[in-house]
Amino acid sequence: MGIIIYAILSARGDLKNSDSMVSGLTGLSGGSLYPLSYNSATAIVSDINRSDLIANSSSAIAYAGIIETLAQQFTLLPMRFGSVMETTDAVLQMLERNYPEIEKNLLKVENRVEFGLKVFCDSEKLKAELIAKSEAIREPKTPQSPEPQISVFRDYVNKKLEAHKFEEMLLFHVDSVITGITRHLDQMNAVCKFRKMLSETLIIDAVLLLENKLKDPLIHQIQEFQIQYPGLNFVLTGPWPPYSFVEPTIK
């Protein structure tokens, strides 16, 4: 038998009734959810047989579903799938040991939700557009000396230079898109983390943390980006519990 932890939340003020708030909710393998508290930090847990915790996508989705349900009522720190401790005492000791860190993290994400933003492109189409754009602004060629003799070496170097030039143009383009996005999201006081050029088609993978109430303005803003960059495809997911904005490790 073990204790599986779904989330840690703050049971301050009117949230002190977390016990009644989670009663009736069931965890993985049908065990009832219950809170374990140290001061204002409360872990939401359920009992589980280790053998019942199967590592497959449906268990992971069910686990995330429980966190999602809790997130609709509380500001919380979502736990990673598979967070199991031996006993309730061990959970309480963990809360005590990490109390300052837990409080700090909860404060950071209070009343905030996470969104995922992925920007896809048709790489061939984008390549053609960027090349056409760069050629349009390029100065007319000055008369040159007779064409040098074509050699395998020169052909290879030219191709490499072209590829490098395209990569630079693409990176510049992606950076300008990120700058545009950041400028608007800063006005919403959003915290953003960007990763770029993850594949030929996924050019931006971002996570955003912003106030709950700004969901609709964010959706509107993403629609505006879509109009501004018709060659790109913006995919927004969320709101999620703040998975990407909590300090990852507690002891």
């Binding site: 979502p78 998975y243 490790t249 507690i250």
Partner: protein, 70 residues
């Protein structure tokens, strides 16, 4: 709306969800037992997330370890 678009959105949402619950969030360390071992080691990217879950199951039974060694 185009059904294909709806299906793709569902797929992306599920992958995003799995990416979060398996690779993000608070990790417990120390004297705590994490029943799903070394998830990070088998995570190769969002597109491979579903297959990595299968690999996790294999890791539990030791099959994948044998394959990795080979």
């Amino acid at each position: 709306m185009d059904n294909n678009v709806v299906d793709q959105s569902k797929d992306i949402t599920i992958l995003e969800l799995l990416d979060r619950v398996l690779n993000k969030g608070v990790i417990l360390t120390g004297d705590i037992v994490i029943s799903v071992a070394d998830i990070d080691l088998v995570y190769l990217g969002v597109k491979l997330m579903l297959s990595s879950v299968e690999t996790m199951e294999q890791l539990k039974t030791g099959k994948a370890i044998k394959e990795i060694k080979e």
